[in-house]
């Protein structure tokens, strides 16, 4: 028998605080939010675990990518949230994935034109929300544009994200997590690579 993580000490207040951070993150795509440093089960980072604690319940199916899946994390999820765990990525309401895109974004529930809100929300576990390829974000919640550089989110993500946007109002939303930090990319956000030449140009003109 393995030991279990404690979960939230004050479930009512803490889950509302986490929810408020996620709400803020969705409203301001690309902005980083710091959560508490809560102990997470093996396989999950703290922010992903807290997002699950705040969002998952008896009515939401959760799926974890095979490479991240551990008995401890599934047991802890079921114990603390009561959520049903699913083996099928396509039927998940919340999916916890890594940066490798081993399951394409189009596999997940895209919602329907009548109920686009019923699509899957992906919780992406990354090593860092910095030190990645520079990306430009545009869209609702962003004044002109914002740039991010998230470790593991590169060209392949940008390509799949464009198809995700093309299906609007359907499509998945992303919650990017690293350590106890999170950032959201809702389906309304446009994502593009800031290429080397452009950034050089920008540097030249600024001088």
């Amino acid at each position: 028998m393995s030991t279990m993580v404690s979960g939230l000490q004050d479930a009512c207040t803490q889950s509302q605080q986490i929810f408020r951070h996620i709400l803020g993150a969705m409203a301001e795509p690309g902005r980083t939010f710091d959560l508490e440093n809560l102990e997470a089960p093996t396989g999950l980072n703290s922010a992903a675990w807290q997002a699950c604690l705040a969002l998952a319940d008896l009515d939401t199916k959760v799926w974890i990518e095979p490479t991240l899946r551990t008995d401890a994390s599934i047991e802890a999820l079921r114990f603390h949230t009561g959520c049903p765990y699913t083996e099928q990525a396509a039927e998940a309401d919340f999916a916890i994935v890594g940066p490798a895109l081993s399951t394409p974004l189009s596999t997940f529930d895209q919602g329907s034109d009548e109920y686009p809100d019923r699509s899957c929300t992906l919780i992406v576990q990354l090593d860092s929300l910095a030190h990645g390829e520079p990306l430009r974000l545009e869209g609702p919640g962003i004044d002109t544009e914002r740039s991010i550089a998230v470790d593991g989110i590169g060209a392949e993500w940008v390509a799949q994200w464009q198809s995700n946007r093309a299906a609007f109002p359907c499509g998945v939303d992303l919650i990017l997590t690293a350590g106890h930090q999170l950032m959201a990319l809702p389906r309304t956000t446009r994502l593009s690579l800031i290429t080397e030449s452009v950034s050089k140009e920008a540097t030249c003109t600024s001088q």
Binding site: M1, S2, T3, M4, V5, S6, G7, Q9, D10, A11, F79, H80
Partner: protein, 157 residues
Amino acid sequence: MSNDSALRESSPETRQRQRVISVLARADTPSLERYYSTLPQLPEFRFIRQPECGLALVRGRMGGTGDAFNVGEMTMTRCAVEDESGVRGFGYVSGRKRRHAELAAIFDLLLQLDPATHEAALIAPLEQAWLAQRDDESRRAAATKVNFMTMVRGESE
């Protein structure tokens, strides 16, 4: 699920655990508190689920055998603790008695660590007290029983 129900019916350990949890849930908080104060020392444990109140849907069967229907919802409080080796104690009690749920979870843990001692000192007396109380209530209720008899009017013959 079918696996679970098979286990529930077959394993004596499971039946014993259900009995313990049921006795602890029916006990009154002061008697649990009294036993708690007599314990020399508690093993190291931590809460994996703080005592929390909620609602549980109670289902029943008409006459005990008919189709299942929803009786209604009742308030419940639950709590879970775990010791250092990963042994877990659970407390599920009716109403909003956080301390009761907490003590029930702690004692469920203790009963797994040292069944003999706590069975004799805690569970057996509590179970006796509960059976005696139920028996007393049944007697008092039975004394007021009214038998309804139908007079045969003999219309058919």
